[in-house]
């Protein structure tokens, strides 16, 4: 039997996955582990004047676009952020899709970020949001294919902050 997690502290999904893999007789999952101090770019404008770009890795695509496949799909979908979340679809092999399909905002919060623009919390939302597939088991392909594609898209956008929403 697995040991059930504590209720008062964050769930340790790395430990939980290790236990599950052991039970199933799988070799240990290789988590990305980055120990160097991450690069730091200061925020240069107040939030209320900042344009934010949304990048969601929960497998969001827009109706009319090709859906992601589930075997290391390193593609990126450009999703107009003015479109309602009801136009967003989600696909992924490793999490329960039902709640996100009920309301895509819980993994791809376009409607909510537009709300925050209306409230004046943020200055604006980049016209294009990016959807990608976070379930890539090859760190090399994520690093060499997906990450540079996302960086190229975002740096071309002239935004002040990139908001990453993984699952």
């Amino acid at each position: 039997m697995e040991v059930r997690p504590e209720t008062s502290t964050p769930i340790d999904y790395i430990a939980l996955t290790r236990d599950r893999y052991d039970l199933l007789g799988y070799p240990p999952y290789q988590w990305a582990e980055l120990t160097d101090t991450p690069p730091w770019t200061p925020l240069t404008r107040p939030l209320a004047e900042s344009t934010v770009a949304l990048i969601g890795s929960g497998g969001a695509y827009r109706e009319g676009q090709t859906a992601f496949h589930w075997k290391d799909d390193t593609g990126v979908r450009r999703i107009p952020s003015a479109d309602p979340a009801t136009d967003i679809r989600v696909t992924h092999f490793a999490y329960d899709l039902e709640p996100a399909r009920e309301d895509p905002n819980i993994v791809f919060p376009v409607d909510r970020l537009r709300d925050l623009v209306d409230e004046g919390v943020i200055g604006g939302l980049a016209p294009t949001a990016l959807g990608c597939m976070g379930g890539i088991y090859s760190v090399r392909r994520a690093t060499e294919e997906l990450a540079p594609a996302v960086v190229a898209e975002i740096t071309a956008m002239d935004v002040d902050l990139a908001l990453l929403v993984p699952v």
Binding site: Y13, G64, I106
Partner: protein, 121 residues
């Protein structure tokens, strides 16, 4: 480019070590909260964004203070891929692998999406 990474998987985010992260104590698949609860979702986003403004050290993971329920009892049903139903969690025996097979063809939410994408059959 400044980045802020939302997360509901603290240990995984700590391992990846992004410059700025904001942790909410929610089940996997609910990074921005509960479905159809716009104020819950906006509150989470406001807290995360405001936390980012105050961060001054790379590798910071701020807690938004947003939780799923008052006592964290959902965690007893947590799995590496989400949350079991109460029925499944009360069942005896070791769990299986709840992930889907990793097929290499597009996996549409609806059949109409496939047609809209013009990929035929």
């Amino acid at each position: 480019m400044p980045t802020l990474c939302l997360t509901s998987a603290y240990s995984i985010t700590a391992s990846v070590n992004p410059p700025r992260a904001a942790f909410s104590d929610l089940p996997l698949g609910h990074t921005v909260g509960r479905p159809h609860q716009p104020e819950f979702q906006r509150d989470l986003l406001r807290r995360a964004l405001n936390a980012a403004v105050n961060m001054d050290a790379p590798g910071t993971i701020a807690a938004t203070g947003v939780t799923w329920d008052s006592d964290g009892s959902w965690k007893r049903r947590a799995t590496p891929t989400g949350m079991e139903s109460e029925e499944d969690a009360s069942r005896d025996g070791d769990p299986g692998d709840s992930r889907n097979v990793r097929v290499d063809t597009p996996q549409y939410q609806y059949e109409s999406d496939r047609l809209a994408a013009g990929s035929g059959s």
